[in-house]
């Protein structure tokens, strides 16, 4: 397993957001994490990236214990996140934002090739290359956040609701891109409200409720699980 989380507790102030969750992500997998608002999905992501320190529990990455590692070290180790809310550097241009994604990498031809790749995936970004990130529309910012995460060439890519705020057509495209990235060898942990889409692409998935993991299984299994259908897939 590439990423392993054991028994993680995370608090916000006196509020406990995660109650002893354990999950794992294997090399080359797409793992989805679904759950209602406030279930603790983003908190889990933040804990993996090191933005939140767990009060108990252990996180290992590639066999190494990273529970106490600084967030910037984790990036070097190969974990990169496109966070919820996008976290665009609003004063930097689109291109500078993308270069920030490659902050820990060496400049060179490889980097420029990756840049071109991102521009190919999102032509809109290329158009807006010199526009400050803060003036992009919501959806454009989402593209930028994903593109930026790709620029770090992570071993493990964390995507927190990548489809949020995207137009239907783009959503389909994003999921297509996710599959492509995986095929190029990147492991992906995906948080999604769009459970239908997420589960149908994921190798495995976890369901979170009020800070705990209540169910896990392959994407296909969960997709047909009646309780999951009832709660997350809507009545359609």
């Amino acid at each position: 397993m590439l990423l392993e989380i054991e028994n993680l507790d995370v608090h916000y102030g006196r509020i406990q957001a995660l109650h002893g969750i354990s999950l794992s992500v294997g090399e080359g997998e797409i793992v989805a994490l679904i759950g209602a608002n406030g279930a603790g999905k983003s908190t889990t992501m933040r804990a993996i990236s090191g933005l939140r320190r767990p009060s108990t529990g252990r996180i290992t990455f590639g066999g190494e214990d990273i529970t106490k590692m600084r967030p910037d070290r984790r990036v070097v180790a190969g974990i990169c996140q496109a966070p919820e809310g996008r976290g665009i550097f609003s004063g930097m241009t689109v291109q500078e934002n993308l270069f920030m994604g490659a902050y820990t990498r060496k400049r060179g031809a490889q980097l420029n090739a990756d840049l071109d790749h991102v521009y190919m995936l999102f032509p809109r970004l290329k158009e807006r290359r010199r526009q400050p990130g803060g003036t992009l529309s919501g959806g454009e910012q989402q593209m930028l956040a994903i593109g930026r995460a790709l620029m770090s060439r992570p071993k493990l890519l964390l995507l927190d609701e990548p489809s949020m705020g995207l137009a239907p057509m783009l959503i389909a495209q994003i999921f297509q891109i996710i599959l492509e990235i995986r095929d190029q060898g990147t492991t992906i942990l995906l948080v999604e409200q769009n459970a239908q889409q997420a589960l149908s692409r994921a190798d495995r998935a976890y369901v979170m409720e009020t800070g705990s993991i209540t169910r896990e299984g392959t994407g296909a299994d969960l997709l047909v699980d009646p309780a999951v259908r009832d709660a997350y897939l809507g009545v359609a």
């Binding site: 102030g13 006196r14 933005l51 967030p71």
Partner: protein, 394 residues
């Protein structure tokens, strides 16, 4: 699986329980105080006030809190009167900084306008030499400072955050520097012989119709005894605090709070932010003017040195140190910031060094201030705990 609604609110319930627990913990003392029956609380408050009034006459052997008990110390009631005047200033500034969230670093300017107004119209040594009694100068001072608050506020209040801070700071300096250079303020040299509150030497010929002539001096307020000034200041503080409190707990206070939290959102929710900010400025200014008027008469002499920027910044420090937003905290902060240097006068030249270090240590240990408002305490506690759980490196 439980229903959506139940699941949904399980989290919220957790949140609420934790919040309730924390409030109880954070309030500890306050809760106990609140649980005492009201008449007892009132009595205790009254006793506190009485104690404050009696303070200049109290000495406790073994506890040398009086500043005149130390070598080269200054008269205790004099120090008390200074602190009381500064408390009044801080209460006014707290309306602007603590309640409306406008970082005004030039507040001292209003205090200066108030003081100079009294000196110019009251002192026989000023060039206008109208020699108005103090009691007549005070309303003039308040009116003038309110007007200057509006004049300063109108163009500056559309600036945000630190830009506002630096512009107000600039204005504060401009007021002081203009006072240094103008003739009515007698420049650098200042205006001596500001009248006492209880004297009047008036000989007016009203339109040539009749003559008003007073000439009295009750000799209650003299340079020899600062206690009457202290008592007067205490009375004013109590009145002003009551007034400010009732404002805080109204639509006005709520609007200030909303502006402080998110000004754009507030105005989109219908808060006329400019108007309320201007009110905060004007009210703050008026209180500043009042304290300036009080200062001028107590100090007898007024010059620009009384209004330097560092003092202005010290007031902000006092408010933050005590706990912004909470009037009693503000009072405490002011007392500490302005009492301790007097108490430690024996450290002689090193006392300001010690003071600077103390400022750092206190704020680092208690960033929420010594006695913050409930709201601020909660906010700070949250932020702190959050920071703790955030990773060490972040």
């Amino acid at each position: 699986m439980t229903t959506l609604k139940e699941r949904y609110y399980a989290v919220a319930d957790g949140v609420r329980k934790a919040e309730a627990g924390r409030q109880k913990w954070a309030q500890g003392l306050r809760g106990r105080w609140q649980s005492i029956p009201k008449p007892v609380r009132l009595l205790a408050g009254l006793a506190g006030v009485v104690l404050l009034f009696a303070l200049p006459n109290i000495a406790i052997p073994g506890i040398p809190f009086r500043t005149d008990e130390i070598p080269n110390g200054i008269g205790f009631s004099f120090v008390l009167s200074t602190i009381a005047i500064y408390v009044l200033v801080a209460v006014g500034l707290n309306v602007v900084v603590g309640m409306a969230g406008l970082l005004d670093l030039g507040y001292i300017g209003f205090y200066a306008v108030g003081a100079y107004t009294v000196a110019i119209f009251g002192s026989p040594d000023s060039i206008v030499a109208t020699k108005y009694p103090w009691l007549i100068c005070v309303p003039i001072a308040i009116a003038l400072t309110m007007v200057s608050g509006v004049i300063l506020g109108t163009p500056t209040l559309r600036l945000r955050g630190d830009y506002l801070a630096i512009v107000t700071l600039g204005f504060g300096e401009i007021i002081r520097l203009v006072a240094v250079n103008l003739r009515v303020t007698n420049g650098q040299r200042g205006i001596p012989s500001v009248p006492a509150p209880d004297e009047a030497h008036v000989d007016w010929n009203v339109f040539g119709w009749f003559r008003i002539k007073f000439d009295f001096d009750l000799d209650i307020f003299t340079p020899m005894d600062a206690r009457p000034y202290y008592w007067l200041a205490l009375v004013l503080i109590i009145v002003v605090i009551l007034a400010v409190r009732s404002m805080e707990r109204s639509r006005v206070g709520r609007s200030w709070l909303a502006i402080r939290e998110d000004e754009d959102a507030a105005s989109i929710m219908g808060v006329e932010s400019f108007k309320f900010k201007l009110w905060a400025f004007a009210i703050g200014a008026a209180i500043g003017g009042l304290s300036g008027a009080l200062f001028a008469t107590r100090n007898v002499f007024v010059n620009s040195g009384n209004f330097n920027l560092l003092l202005s910044v010290m007031f902000v420090a006092a408010i933050v140190l005590g706990g912004q937003g909470n009037i009693l905290g503000v009072v405490l902060g002011t007392v500490i910031v302005f009492y301790l240097p007097e108490r430690f006068r024996f450290l002689s030249t090193k006392r300001e060094l010690v003071f600077g270090l103390a400022l750092i240590v206190i704020m680092v240990l208690r960033p929420q201030g010594l006695w913050p408002s409930r709201r601020r305490a909660r906010e700070l506690q949250d932020r702190k705990l959050e920071a703790k759980e955030a990773a060490a490196g972040a």
